[in-house]
Each structure stands twice: as C-alpha cells, then as structure tokens.
C-alpha cells in the first residue's frame, strides 16, 4: 500500500529544551512516516512527549525548546530547515492543527466568520465574499445546525461540542493534506466525543486527508486509526498497525497500558497496575527509560537503549522481545 515517498516523514528527530543546568531532551530519535490519507495514532501518558511531537511537526516548538537534530520531511522538503516565511505557507494550509481546548484556540472577541475569513485570506488572494462562501461550505461539512447564523456568532455563544466542530471546519478551510489533532475530544463528554470522532473520521476519508491523532485514550485510537505509535519518556517504544498492537502488544509498557484499563479486568477484581510513574525529563533513567517499572528488566536494559526489532508488522524497542525473537530463530535453526 505504501508509496515510494511518504507524505510526511520524520527522521531521527531530537527536540531539547534549554533550561538552567543543561538541556532536557524531550524527544529522542523519533522516526515515523505518514502516507496520504492515512490515520496515525500517537499514544502515551502525560510527559511522554506526544504534544511536543505534534508541535514539532509544524516546527512550532517555542523557546527554550529547539529542534536539536533530525529531519521533518514534507514530500521531501525539510520543515526543520525552513525559514518562518516558508513555514507560514505550510502551516494551516498544507498541515492544519486541532488543539484540545476549543476555547483557547478561538479568539473570544471575533466572530466565527471573521476568524474563518481571516485564515483563508492569509493564504489566498480572494474576496471576502468568496472567503465567506468557503467558510459556510466548511461549516456545513461539519454538520453545524444553521451555519449562516454561526458565522456571525461569537465563540461563547456556542457549546463545547459545537466549538470543536468550528475548529474542525477551520482546520479544513484550506483543504490541507494533513490534520494534526492534539487530544481533540479530551475536554468533551462521551456522547459528544463519539460524534466528533465519527465526524473527523468521515471527513478525513471523504477528503483523503491524513490524520495524526494524539490521545491518551486507547479506545479512540482503536476506533479511528490504522497505525499507531506508543511513546514513553520521549521515545517511540512501539509502532505498527493499530489492530496488531491492540490485540497483541509486544512492549511490556504497551501491554501494561492495555491491561490497566478497567474494561480488561473482571468487575470487582484488582486491576493490573504498572508500578511507579513516568520519570521526569530531569532524570530519565539510563538505558531503556521503562526499566525501573518493568518486570522483565535485566542488566542489559539498565545499560543501553534497545534498538527496534520487528515482530510481525510491529517495530518494538525492547530487549526482552528481541531476545525472544532470537531464541525462536535459534530453535527453528536447530529444528531444521
């Protein structure tokens, strides 16, 4: 299914934050790709670096953060090396972003229409009338009731779910190729979350837009995405097809995350729990960052970060998994 060059390719990305007493590494050696029209989930707990990864795709890392190495290739062109001027042509135009809190992203003193027209006119030389028509069309696409009225309303006049629909309409304004959605439904109730996720999924399929969905909710990832990445302490520890990972996770952390969900246990029984919590960036453990919480940790894990190994279609960074694969190979060789 894969084309020769993916739409977006992130290679060995390092992001650091310069703070007093040295740099903190927020992302370490992140590599992944996104094809046209593909939906990719990015999963992890707070502090794993999901949002930094999302922001860095648009080169939006603000000081004291900076991209310390690696490339972000959009059809072969490196966003990490572009000037602000060049980036402005891509942001909102070819890559759009949806943030968690719709009240923070909408300007409270401008009407929805003004904000939408402004975004279109920043990228295209068209009349206000034409821009308003595009805005209206997009509001219809996100199934907002009486869209003509909404153009002249202020954000505070809309409910949370409706605001998030407006945000999605704004993201679609310039027909982007990629939408990066950072926890788009976390602030919403379950019934509204279901509606917004279904809408986002339908629109991405209709318009053939690639979606990068950042979330902590494994249920949402399983419903919406085709491939997923699991992040821990600034690294990708597992990536591959969503179904395969959800059904048969390889990395002990991913397994723990899935098994810790209440729906996985017998009602009333103790839940599976991963001991401890995610290390802060100030003192990331040596070797595999997960080793202090891992049941399978050995000296090898404490010394060096494991490389990726392939198991099925999934790439995993774990010595336990790579040792198991080695063992299997040896058994097979001995058998034949």
């Amino acid at each position: 299914m894969k084309n020769d060059t993916p739409l977006l390719e992130v290679k060995n990305l390092d992001v650091r934050f310069a703070v007093r007493g040295g740099d903190l590494t927020a992302l370490r050696g992140i590599s992944f790709s996104l094809d046209k029209g593909e939906r990719l989930g990015l999963v992890g707990e707070s502090g794993a670096g999901k949002s930094v990864a999302a922001f860095s795709i648009l080169n939006l890392i603000a000081r004291p953060g900076y991209i310390a190495g690696g490339q972000i290739l959009l059809e072969g062109k490196d966003l990490a090396a572009m000037s602000e001027r060049e980036l402005r042509k891509i942001r909102g135009n070819r890559i759009a972003m949806i943030f968690q809190d719709p009240m923070m992203t909408l300007n409270p003193v401008l009407t929805i229409g003004t904000q939408m027209v402004e975004a279109i006119k920043a990228h295209r030389r068209i009349s206000t009338k034409a821009a308003r028509d595009i805005a209206l069309d997009k509001l219809r696409k996100v199934q907002i009731p009486s869209p003509e009225k909404r153009l002249d309303q202020y954000p505070h006049e809309l409910s949370g779910g409706m605001r998030q629909r407006v945000i999605i309409a704004i993201a679609l304004l310039l027909d982007p190729e990629i939408i990066v959605a950072d926890e788009p439904t976390t602030a919403l109730d379950v019934t509204i979350q279901a509606e917004i996720m279904a809408l986002l999924l339908d629109l991405c399929e209709q318009e053939n837009v690639a979606l990068m969905l950042i979330t902590h909710d494994l249920g949402v990832v399983s419903q919406v995405t085709q491939r997923m990445l699991v992040m821990y302490s600034g690294r990708i520890i597992e990536q591959g097809p969503t179904r395969e990972i959800i059904n048969d996770a390889q990395h002990p952390y991913t397994q723990g995350l899935i098994n810790a969900l209440p729906q996985m246990g017998e009602p009333g029984a103790r839940l599976f729990q991963i001991p401890g919590s995610m290390p802060s960036l100030k003192n990331v453990p040596t070797g595999c960052p997960f080793h202090p919480r891992c049941d399978f940790a050995t000296d090898q894990c404490r010394q060096a970060m494991p490389d990726y190994v392939r198991s099925g279609n999934v790439d995993v960074a774990c010595y336990e998994v790579s040792n198991l694969i080695e063992q299997e190979k040896r058994m097979q060789e001995a058998g034949s």
Binding site: E45, S46, S159, G161, M162, D189, V190, T191, I192, Q193, A194, E195, M197, A198, L201, H216, D217, L218, G219, V220, S222, Q223, V224, R243, I246, G256, L257, I258, A260, L261, P262, Q263, M264, G265, P267, G268, R270, L271, F272, Q273, I274, P275, S277, M278
Partner: protein
Amino acid sequence: MTSPLVEIRGLEKRFDLSGSLLEQITFKGGRFQRKQEAVHAINGVDLQVQRGEALCVVGESGCGKSTVARTVMGLLSPSAGEVHYDGKRIDNLKGRDVLPYRRKMQMIFQNPYASLNPRMTIQQTLEEPIQFHRPELSRDEVRSKVHEVMESVGIDPDWGSRFGHEFSGGQRQRIAIARALAVDPEFIVADEPISALDVSIQAQVLNLLMEAQETRNLTYLFITHDLAVVEHFGTRVAVMYLGRVCELADTKTLFAEPRHPYTQALLSAIPKLEDDRPNYIRLQGEVPTPVNLPSGCVFHGRCPYANDRCRQQIPQLIATDSGTQVACHAVEEGRL
C-alpha cells in the same frame, strides 16, 4: 432489607442567577418587572446508599452529579429535600451537632493539585483532621495513626516532611485518600477521584480504593463520568441527566440491559478496544440549559421515542422486572 446508610429524599438544589433585588428589576414596556432566574442543578433526586456498597453516580457535565455529592457532604445546603445518615436527618444540623457526622463522612476531590494545602507538609496535612476530630489522642498516637494511613495508601511514611508539590499527581491523590481515611470514616464520597490521572496511575488508585473498601468496610458514593470505571468498581449505578436520575440498577444489569434511551446512548458512546469504527447511538441536539428546564421528561427533546405524554408529564422511577428502576414513559408503556 436493612436500613440504608445514607438516604437522599426529594433533593433539589437551585443556584440563584439573578443576584440582589435591584439587579432583578428591569424596566420593560413602560413597567418595572422583577425577574428571577436560577440554575436547576438537581430536580428531585431520591437515592439510597446501602452499607458496604459502592453506589456510582454517572452522567455528563452539568447533570448535577457533583452537586449531589456536595449536598450529601453538607458543603451545599439543599433547596428542598432531606439527607439522612444512618436514620438521622443531617442536612439541617448546625455547629457542633455536625461534627460527629463529618468524621464518619469524608470526601475525596477530583484534582489533587487543588485539594492539598501547598503550604502544609504532608505530615501536617494528615495530622490536622485527626487532631481536630479526635482531640483526646496524644501527639504520639496521632503520629502513629498518620504513619499507619500513609503506609496503607503506599506512601513512604518518611516523606511526611515533604510538601504537596514534591509529589506526582498519583501520589498526591494517594495522600488525599490518606487524609480521608485518617479519621476512620464509614462513608466516603469520591468526586471523580481518578479523572485527572494518567491511565496507568488510574489503575493504581482504583485498586487502592477497592482495597480500602475491603479492609475498612467502607461505603462509597462514587461520582464519575467514566463508564468503564463504573462497570469495574460499582455495586449499583445511578445515571443522571439534567438534575434527575433516569435509571438506577445493579451494575451488571445496567451494562447488560440498559433500559432508558439516554443510558443506551451513553453506553454506546464509550470507545471500545475491539471497535474499528465509532459505533454509537446518535442523539439529536444538545443538553438543554438547566436554567429553563424542558417540561415533562427532561430528555424528551433528544429522545427518539418521545410522545405527547413525555412532553407534559414528568416520569417517575419505576421498577421493572429485572430490578432496574427507570424513569421513562416509553419503558413503562412497553413501547421500548
């Protein structure tokens, strides 16, 4: 059936919006008019919490679940209705008469970043309620009590001299739980105790709450919006919508056979790991404002089964064959 530990009868709570008398008066059409407005947060809720059970109250934002919790605890006084504890009415008690109940009833709040005093060490935070409620204890006895609760929630007792900000979110919530347990309560109201925590930490805290329930014979009123947690944790579930209970049932029965159309929609909206598309019952419109409540059944505007009776008459909770209590005319008439 034994008498319930906590009983709520005909509870109503309105929050006044109109302010002082002068603010209520408007000049309209040549006449002065007085207009009073209120948020109807709870509109007639009856609940019984049996000894040793975990009664979960679920619903979306604005349904009044937190207001129920706060009214039971006496943090808010009801506009109408009564709260009984162990057969005695407690909502009208004043001053010293409340104290014995405050010791038996404790609360755990949602946000452990806000519920711990930042200027107190953990030792002080935990000693305060014990000294207050049990002044007869000596300093050493208080200390050993603090030592005991800290151990029981998995916080190293040597960390007593640290401040709240030195702990992670999960650890802070453990401390908040320790504070509630310090006075040996019988009844705990937990208002979204795990919503602010990461998945792997949620499992830890949920296990801790279940453990405390077993070893200390606690009764819980558990407020949450997370239905997966309810299914795992709750003995019985009350589903709330716009200040009214629409369905009350055993956890197993409710999840196996939801009767109220709102409960059905709510359950269908939970993202499940096995789904590969959002799959949910679509509700029309949005939750109406609690300022002007709809007539009849509060859910009628969004309900696919609503008829004239639903628009006029408020449905009462009625027991069905399976033991579920449902407030729905359609279920009562056998239309659903």
